[in-house]
Symmetry: C2
Subunit: 746 residues, 2 copies
């Protein structure tokens, strides 16, 4: 902090120290710059993707101008008319600003001015928004978050027409609208502004950006370093259960940049919120780059912002859809507008990575800023190269020391494992330590449920989080991980969960035929250590790569263990007997179990329990090592869901009762295909004859996989020592094996 | 029959009467011809789509030749190894025959010869297939149907290498393999061969085609006219419950051509089986065209075979997937191989319709025959025009007098109604009189469940029909039509159902803003007349076209009425109160009700009951006219389904108790959209303020639709008179209306 305070002082007293600061800067100078606008104008008609993007924006804005301006009295939740209208207003105004600059057509400037003056006339006397659900109510919207969105965009619109307005007009707008607006979302709502949270990021960007346009140093400093004395008491919760003020809380832009981002660019709330926060982070950073380049915001923390873009792209499936870790809406992808901004900026301000251009091609639009122009020129000139997503281990925590997310990929995303051993992830975190999801190309094989919310669909709880998000989506049993005694991890206590994180045991994706990630968790259930090792293996006797899952548990007491697999598809075959009830009842009373119907209950086999399904035209077989007294439950989501807020998705759950130390071993094996057009069923049978635990003690767990031709593969994990240089030796069935490093495979 | 017998006699005694018959024909002369092969050879390298298709076939065949020939002892059901292997053998042999002819590479001829002699060695002593499920067991396969498939393809392979073989070789193959094979599937299995049924079509084509190659007049006559004295008794059922022999049954190719096809080219079993039967129909017809052009098979019944191709293409959604009427597998589409054959032949032997070329483009492959060459040349030369699917009314029955299927389309398949008022459709028919399904582009809005079968997936009941096909898929409650007193139409009695059909009342798709289909059914429930009128309406005050559904019932007794809507998607909103049980029970005991769980039960509103869902990113609202004592059930398929054979799909069902005459009126209204990428929810509310029945008597039923802006539309159907020239006049709320024809709309 000292260094930063110092540099701010330098900025305040000696701005001429910066090589750029001595230039007298006119407007626009926030996101657009005079020189950048000049380049865009000069390139018109010469860069197809840029021209196309501009034409699309022009068509949209012209249609809105045609319809006239409406700034209704605020009334609705997300999805309702007044919410949608004000939201559209700021989007369109920002775009109109760009059009004014690039096309020099005054109608766009006039449109923005008129709209701003309507807001100015309204804002002076505007009370708090009538909807009272938020911990930080806004004025135009039901929460300050959306008011901040408004200001982030409107400050760009204002910057674009700054020179078009008279000094008097600017004075009126700044005095009656922008400055009070900025103060409202910051000084009057420190519980919103003064946090480390995606909400605050928007608030900070809003205050900072309008400060930059107005050249209001007070606002700029507030944005960068927060409110010194916010008067908040430690504790207090927001609407999502997140703690508002924690002991020793940092604040402001730099704190929000440093704390939630790991050095690898992973954002602790998960990709869905990273995508959401990325826009204000980047757009404010860009504004700082343009106005205060000496602060080197884009280079801060070793360039973490641009690294974050790369991390985010790696947190997507083959279709570009983000893994729905924590609260995440399925289907959100790198096609979203905030990723268009992010990718263009990462290209232009980063190292002009030609792989990013292939994402730009898929997005099929660019930002109307010189970064977008540059990306479009790159595409036009054929510079794009395929974006190669490889296996990657993304650490979590400000220093990368709070667990992480390990992604193992085989081939060209033919199989992708997403293994989560991260920190809690703030208020949007789920109780899902050591959980995983599995993808074949862009299709979910074993799903992460994501959030329980219909974002912006007013009919569904105002478009906000539904109560099932807490009672189902966040629970442990809702995830592909181990539940003990029907309880959630950390007993579902956010404050406790926030103090802990899982720990990486090993990550190794160097080899082609076996890639391993392994982590431990010892706090989710006090007295119990869980150690999960997942390996993506490609063997020549198997058509496709498969997943080996070894989950070892040491506990100081006997427990009931539930291990679900949320398979996506329809049941094709199974090798165990079960009863299918004629009336369906819930799996349990609480902790998420109350939302599951039991469609089948059976006994596992002594040896291997096999279960096969067909999803998206492909076959998958689960082969689990089970005991005769293990139980198998076939469940479906939907119990105690009177508003039909949940999807009716299925799972198979292995239950082991009355056991302390134990190990769960299973293989998830993709194979074959089915086409309803050719009606041909190809390779519809598992290639596995048996899976066996051949060794299990404190030091080693060994698993053999025998295929139907009789070939045997052996995998051993060294439970106690992850050092990659340590030598190990074991004897299994009279045969000696020795190797170096935490695991053995052959 | 007399005329045909006569021409056959002419053919037998005076073949030189035909202008073509005097040419001495060599081989190939079945599907390929010497001149056609010459044209293909000459065009190599010059027609991209043909070259590509040839290269793909060559790659496939070469890989198989590499692997060697395997003709295992028959053992398995569909999906099992021996089944799949023999199936692959005939496919590959047929393709190898084409390659031999076009590429003149002897290895292909040798491959076929070796394979045929392996079969010859095996066939002599081959017993019946060990699987005993079929009413007509085959030898290579579990049913004669698949044996016939084999012969249809193998006769083409044989024709291709006919001249390559020595006379002795031919004699051996014909004497030991082909002739006994043909006799087995015909003379020894008249219950299979001598019917009007898609099974027989395959048997007939098989016998006829090998007859043509062998120039065996006995077999050819048998194929064309059936077995004179089959010794079968009237009655008897096949595996699907179809009657084997009905009184006065006709037989042979011409009977199979005349009876199941309506003059419009609709095949009474439905599009899924039309697709299946189309290949043997067309390929045998083509063989006849090449060998016996004087019989003018392709022109038979006013060119019904080629008309059938057009009908079939019209029975598909915007993605080319066939409507799953009766037993139909979802996803089957015009991309299937049999449709590649059908479309190429229809193009070449029909009027060279350039619209068919756009289908060829989508199929992206052509038949390796001169029709395929011709289509590929058309594509190469840019002749393709979009295939415009319009509204169409396809009659059912040999004379087009047994009901039909009415398809109303608005715009470019923006909304497609499929309304079924057909005959029973033989053994694959469903008990679903006056049912409908609704599509927006290629997405199902209200579904037809289709069949309950995993075709060729051995693990699921040997890949055959599952028992749930009868207990669920065929039932009335499984469809979007009216169930009375929990019973199936015709009490589910196939023999009774087969004697009746619904009757068209009116079909009018001439106008842009209102398209109407209306039909009656008076036999499904004796003593009850159902009259359903469906209109696709586009009004300027609505974003999208909507469906008006008027179902009027006259009954001589009081009944319980259930009217389900199998919506595809997730519930967004509803305006009625209901209870959601914590344990789920079945909707009923039998007739399909036993497969439905009740997830909610409520009371309808006195006035309008509204129900909204989101499917495939689009909103839909059902607005139904209801009474206060109507009940609403929210159901989901899956009860009493221990093997998980059924999809867990949902419905909303309106129930009206203790009522004789009544009318059900509802509007299904597509509107708006939702994107998880932009998270914008557009036009998510119904535009309908109210729907009212403003008139209902024996003569007229009138419905008003009031939109949220207060505009009113009125639709009146004249219940008693469908004459398009009759004048009508009614007074509604003091206002006089008069018009000509069966309905009024303004």
């Amino acid at each position: 902090m000292n260094i930063k305070k110092f540099s701010l002082t330098m900025l305040a007293v000696g701005i001429s120290l910066s090589p750029f600061a001595s230039e007298a800067k006119g407007h626009p100078n926030l996101i657009l710059t005079e020189s950048g606008v000049e380049r865009m104008r000069d390139s018109l008609g010469e860069v197809p993707l840029f021209d196309k993007s501009l034409a699309a924006v022009k068509q949209e804005v012209d249609a809105e101008i045609e319809m006239g301006i409406d700034t209704p009295i605020p009334k609705d939740f997300s999805g309702g008319y007044t919410h949608q209208r004000h939201k559209k207003n700021f989007f369109i105004a920002q775009k109109a600003g760009v059009l004014y600059q690039v096309l020099e057509d005054e109608k766009y400037a006039k449109y923005i001015r008129d709209m701003l003056f309507q807001y100015e006339a309204m804002y002076k006397d505007l009370p708090l928004h009538p909807q009272k659900r938020s911990y930080a109510r806004g004025k135009l919207f039901w929460q300050c978050l959306n008011d901040s969105n408004w200001l982030v965009y409107m400050s760009q619109a204002y910057d674009a027409i700054y020179d078009y307005l008279s000094a008097d007009e600017r004075k009126t707008l700044e005095g009656n609208l922008f400055r009070p607006f900025a103060d409202f979302i910051s000084l009057e709502n420190p519980q919103f502004f003064n946090r480390v949270h995606n909400h605050s990021t928007w608030g900070i960007a809003a205050v900072g950006m309008i400060g930059l346009v107005m050249n209001d140093e007070d606002l700029i400093q507030r944005a960068l370093y927060g409110i010194e004395d916010d008067g908040l008491e430690v504790g207090g919760k927001d609407n999502d259960g997140g703690t508002i003020k924690v002991e020793g809380q940092r604040k402001g832009f730099f704190a929000n940049l440093e704390e939630p981002f790991s050095p690898d660019g992973y954002y602790t709330e998960g990709p869905y919120y990273q995508r959401y926060a990325m826009y204000p982070f980047l757009i404010f950073a860009l504004a700082m780059e343009n106005s205060r380049p000496d602060l080197k915001v884009l280079q801060h923390k070793n360039g973490v912002l641009l690294k974050g873009v790369n991390a985010l792209l790696n947190l997507s499936d083959a279709d570009g859809e983000f893994f729905p870790l924590n609260d995440g809406q399925k289907g959100m992808s790198y096609h979203s507008a905030s990723l268009v901004t992010a990718v263009d900026l990462a290209y232009f301000y980063g190292e002009k990575d030609p792989q990013l251009l292939s994402i730009v091609e898929k997005q099929n639009q660019v930002l109307l800023q010189e970064s977008g122009l540059s990306a479009a020129i790159g595409v036009r000139d054929g510079k794009a190269k395929p974006f190669a997503k490889d296996s990657v281990n993304l650490s979590d925590g400000p220093d990368g020391q709070q667990g992480g997310v390990g992604i193992l990929r085989y081939g060209n995303e033919d199989l992708t494992l997403v293994f989560k051993y991260a920190a809690q992830g703030l208020s949007h975190g789920h109780y899902d330590k050591l959980s995983f999801s599995l993808y074949e190309k862009g299709d979910e094989v074993l799903q992460d449920y994501g959030l329980a919310r219909f974002v912006n669909i007013e009919q569904k709880g105002g478009g906000n989080y539904l109560k099932e998000n807490a009672t189902w989506a966040k629970t442990t049993i809702a995830h592909n991980t181990l539940s003990l005694n029907g309880q959630k991890h950390f007993d579902g206590k956010y404050d406790v969960a926030s103090q802990h994180h899982s720990a990486l045991f090993t990550f190794d994706a160097e080899k082609e035929n076996v890639k391993v990630v392994s982590a431990t968790e010892e706090n989710a259930y006090p007295g119990t250590l869980m150690h999960r090792t997942m390996a993506v293996i490609k063997d020549e006797n198997f058509e496709k790569p498969f997943l080996l899952d070894i989950l070892r548990v040491e506990s100081d007491q006997k427990n009931q263990y539930d291990l679900p697999f949320y398979y996506m598809g329809q049941i094709i075959d199974k090798n165990f007997s079960y009863q299918s009830p004629t009336t369906l009842s819930a799996f349990g009373e609480d902790n998420g179990y109350q939302h599951l119907f039991v469609e089948g209950k059976g006994n596992a086999n002594n040896g291997n329990t096999k279960f096969q399904w067909l999803g998206n035209g492909k076959y998958y077989t689960l082969t689990a090592v089970t005991h005769a007294d293990d139980e198998v439950y076939l469940t479906r989501i939907g119990a105690n869901d009177p508003d039909f807020n949940l999807r009716r998705d299925a799972a198979i759950t292995l239950r082991r009762n009355d056991t302390a130390d134990t190990v769960f071993v299973s293989v998830v094996e993709p194979h074959g295909s089915y086409s309803p057009v050719s009606e041909s069923s190809v390779n519809s049978r598992s290639s596995i004859a048996s899976v066996n635990v051949v060794l299990d003690n404190d030091d080693y767990t060994g698993v053999s996989i025998t295929d139907v031709k009789g070939n045997i593969q052996l995998f051993v994990i060294a439970n106690g020592n992850s050092d990659k240089s340590v030598e190990h030796a074991v004897t299994i069935a009279g045969q000696d094996y020795s190797w170096t490093g935490p695991y053995f495979y052959q």
